[in-house]
Assembly symmetry: C2
Homo-oligomer: 389 residues x 2
Amino acid sequence: MKVNGHFSNLATSYLFTEVARRQREYTAAHPDAETIRLSIGDVTRPLVPAVIDAMTKAVAEMGKAETFRGYGDEQGYGFLRDAIVKYYAGKGVELAPDEIFISDGAKSDVGNILNIFSTDNIVAVPDPVYPVYVDTNIMDGRKVLLLDANAENGFLPMPGEEHVDIIYICSPNNPTGAVYNREQLTAWVDYALAHDAVILFDAAYEAFINDPALPTSIYQIPGAEKCAIELCSLSKTAGFTGTRCGYTIVPKALVKDGASLNAMWLRRQTTKFNGVPYIVQRGAEAVFTPEGMAQCKENIAHYRENAKVMGAAFDKLGISYCGGVHSPYIWLHCPDGMTSWEYFDVLLEQYHIVGTPGSGFGKNGEGYLRLTAFNTAENTKKAMERLTK
Amino acid sequence: MKVNGHFSNLATSYLFTEVARRQREYTAAHPDAETIRLSIGDVTRPLVPAVIDAMTKAVAEMGKAETFRGYGDEQGYGFLRDAIVKYYAGKGVELAPDEIFISDGAKSDVGNILNIFSTDNIVAVPDPVYPVYVDTNIMDGRKVLLLDANAENGFLPMPGEEHVDIIYICSPNNPTGAVYNREQLTAWVDYALAHDAVILFDAAYEAFINDPALPTSIYQIPGAEKCAIELCSLSKTAGFTGTRCGYTIVPKALVKDGASLNAMWLRRQTTKFNGVPYIVQRGAEAVFTPEGMAQCKENIAHYRENAKVMGAAFDKLGISYCGGVHSPYIWLHCPDGMTSWEYFDVLLEQYHIVGTPGSGFGKNGEGYLRLTAFNTAENTKKAMERLTK
């Protein structure tokens, strides 16, 4: 009996544990400090009424023999896939329902999609980055090439000469909040087509994009249907972090190494997955109704307003940052040459504000700190007043 | 770019497609035949009131800021893990909450658990069997050894001399309905301990066991905590096939190849999974209350009564079978030397009853046919009257 030896190559991340420990100790020592957490990577506003109504109705259906639902298709119900087809049509992207796979969230799919690729492939991942991209590849023993994302390239690395087989793109980016424009994504699609590579496009934050000129889907770039898989989630779009629903798009035109990746992913999902709860799929369907969309947009506008308040404060302070416009994340350049942890301590001890040290997201994150717009308007304003007064 | 080449070694199963096609064509040709499906592998009774009440309340909580829940722990909420600890205490099994991992169902975990094992391991799988055990190993390129389950061994293969690293046991079994007794499971645990192997024990049908002398958990066998992982589901226990909740138990005493399998599975789940919906976990918690348990047992008693009616009919007909006592499945030996498909056609054409040909579950399934107890009492009785009159 041998275990998967690649697991021993995983780095243990103490980032969030250490953030929590310092916060806890500070709060214990200063019980009156009224600490404000701008480190939260989770939504705080409740599910919108359209979603609640749909799920309440669905729960009642499950309690009656005539309307009870057992196993659904692993790929999701037609009503939800059709709703997503229409949502993409609104972006100018034409999809077929069987190119959409409903899942319990983008994190699961980011991990599981690698099952269809050879472990010999070379993978390109930006640094700093959402740690799941790197860890899932290490678990499989794939070679990971880090792409430098830094102030010089606006935290948006562009293709080089070196050959890679799989490319991770997260736009709007976690943790930097940077967003690729159409020309930049076109360069990546052209690279992928030339190198016979596949782009894994993480669109989890697409609903925060506020400029029609910026792509919200990789399929708005010609040729992407031949080289890209798009992973998306309702976690940030509709506050589904604890409700769990996402989707992955694998175009039928995506054929690599003589195989249809759509057929392979279908086989993976029908073998190792059994679909998303009916109740949750009805809730997700409601997100895409005109009423649900309007309500979700109100929540996003609330978070975006918080980001604006934060941006204005750092502008006033002369502290440079990335993100915060088409993203719930503000990526601060720590002032006075401080390291990530040094600035973390200053914010906590002098202003009672908790952030997330950028160094936890990769070597290029050193000297940066991430704040999020997910707290309440009141707390966000209060935190910024402490900093600017 | 290379895809995972192991996928091309998967056999394409046309079983359920072919069953559906023949049924559809027969029904179209004979619209008045009133065909009864005893092929259903899915529950038909609605969720019990205790579960509906809990989920209705949880949906309402998600709509209010004060009670809204975002990300929970990937491993599940404490309230549900504690409920499962108590459920196992009732079986005489002592577990710690952090040995229990809540998931979206046993099928996902059966597929995903292999991530922690080397692809060099040799795997033993009974034949006939739930096809997912074999397919998930083929996807990883592991060598699969089939264990003959047949009339001679009561469809319960026992350990041989040959060394294997991973052993699949499903008891009560899908598709045969056979159940291992304490002595038989002890022999498997002893084998696993002697061979440094891991048993993957699929307990999805444990709630159908109706004899306190038969084990409902592998951990009722001494030493199993050092060699076994148990996968379970609320799909058949509480009708959660479309609601999606299961759990996997990885004891902390389970150390192989110098590694804690509990720690490895925790790392796998925290990296590639984001937990089960809060609403569903509240529903699952309600299953384990005295009220919920009593209501779920009523449903199981209903299915068990169907199985009894079916068993009595085949006894009368002198057709031998396995299962149907501690299982919703009846595994018929096709009469008159018929093949699985020949008997399928006889049942469909002469009696308007749909079954599932045993040959679809492996080579030892040839000459057998699976019926299930998941239809209504009325339809089940009607079908059996057609056969016996």
